[in-house]
Symmetry: C2
Subunit: 320 residues, 2 copies
Amino acid sequence: MAAMGAMAAMGTLPAGVGALPPLPTLGVPGVPELKPLTRYEAMRLGPGWSHSCHAMLYAPNPGMLFGRIPLRYAVLMQMRFDGLLGFPGGFVDRRYWSLEDGLNRVLGLGLGCVRLTEADYLCSHLTEGPHRVVAHFYARQLTLEELHTIEISAVHSRDHGLEVMGMVRVPLYTQKDRMGGLPNFLGNSFVGTAKFQLLFALKILNMVPEEKLAEAVAATQKPKKPAIDQASGVTGNLPAAKPANELAVPAKTGNELADRAENQAAAQAAVEAAEQPVAGLESGAIVEQLAAVPAAEAVEQPAGLGADAVAEQPVAEPME
Amino acid sequence: MAAMGAMAAMGTLPAGVGALPPLPTLGVPGVPELKPLTRYEAMRLGPGWSHSCHAMLYAPNPGMLFGRIPLRYAVLMQMRFDGLLGFPGGFVDRRYWSLEDGLNRVLGLGLGCVRLTEADYLCSHLTEGPHRVVAHFYARQLTLEELHTIEISAVHSRDHGLEVMGMVRVPLYTQKDRMGGLPNFLGNSFVGTAKFQLLFALKILNMVPEEKLAEAVAATQKPKKPAIDQASGVTGNLPAAKPANELAVPAKTGNELADRAENQAAAQAAVEAAEQPVAGLESGAIVEQLAAVPAAEAVEQPAGLGADAVAEQPVAEPME
């Protein structure tokens, strides 16, 4: 929050006074920069400018996916009525409201129980295009319990199923297949500046290491991997994966298996591709199911399982 | 449900008995067909085959977006841990469980309060790729209240924030800009067969007219519209939009405005682009805000408003 306070304070200084530090930029290759401006500069824009305010609500999350992948933070976005992902917020009429009062008014319709202040201000950017829109962005750290309360509130809100089709958490990790998690998420469709603001906040607030952000963006810009063909969803071939029985060779514990990712990338990818427990299987039996559908699980809406369940039973069935 | 029952029954007949009707196909241009097979055929596949079962839960929805766009149905999908959209479900080990018992077991982890039966069976398809996976798909019609109960249950479930990052409803309408709603949604990233299954169910269950489905798919396959640039999310220019003051010319009521879409496509697009009420504005004041940010709202995470609010105040401010 210190960084945010500093930037908010900076925005209240007259432009050109002293030697202000340069405004932070995103600096992620492949993502065009939007022009940053201070809050002070933004407030001096004329009446022909429209002001949008959106907020990233997030919470430190000690949880581990599959007991092994750190979730880092829970970050809220929403699926909007128009089929795009965005942050809660909207336009604020500066003639009647402060940025924060206007933002809170919009948030109140969908989230109910959070009020942002100027201390939560993060940045302002000029948007692209012929219309004069300046996008203000806020970020508020909550506890995981507070964030969950907002998710519950959202599904009960007036907007649910109308303007907002559902709240989702942003996966901040990248699975060993280099697409699962944040890269795939960034391959979804975002409204306006939302994707830029997401990346900007993740970087500025040190929620994801900068090189991981760049890798995630780069992964979405490569020629699409067939297995995650975003255009058709069903046309691709499966990614290269080692035969199922190679999974089983090293008779290690789950953690050992997971920790030796360098030598066992293929096995790891198959494990991470897995998801909820396979229906109808417990412990040992699960292994055989995984062995029967190794990396196929990355493709075909997997039922999953954790690494532990796999390694407990090193002898797997062959694919046939 | 009659169609489903028929197909389920058909699947129980031995292949080649009598003159069975051909299995239904998707038939949407631009979406490669998956090979359909009867339930009977699928059940005869050998042990080298894996069976996945997923379910579309849906409810007729009499609601109107912005008081004007029929929502048709609420259809549930989920944002998964891997950043992809999918249906609830997973793999089922046929050695231990029936398809339905296995599916219900997986659903129980995340949804809690719905049990599917063979009557909900819709179709089976062979998936693409080197692995032998047959994907079974179910669809269960609920009441909107039942569906909402499941959404509430999901946010309280064990999987929430782990395997499932949130439930979302699928927008089934297409806004006048031809991208908002289902087309944009189809531009997101889906796992495996999920997008095919979504389109298949929407067609087979007559939830969306077939030509609308084809249009929505086609819209996502055109050279990307700059404003909805899915690759970068922020690089595009704005779509062509008429100046704000053209919005205000016809002094009609909201419904009249909405109904005259043929002549007022631009106005309509701007109206539909709008979202939640503009923060800090009521009725008449809202109009001026819309006039100040017409189609820009389609781009910059709009604060929205309904059609009525716009038309009540026909004289709008010019953009500058």
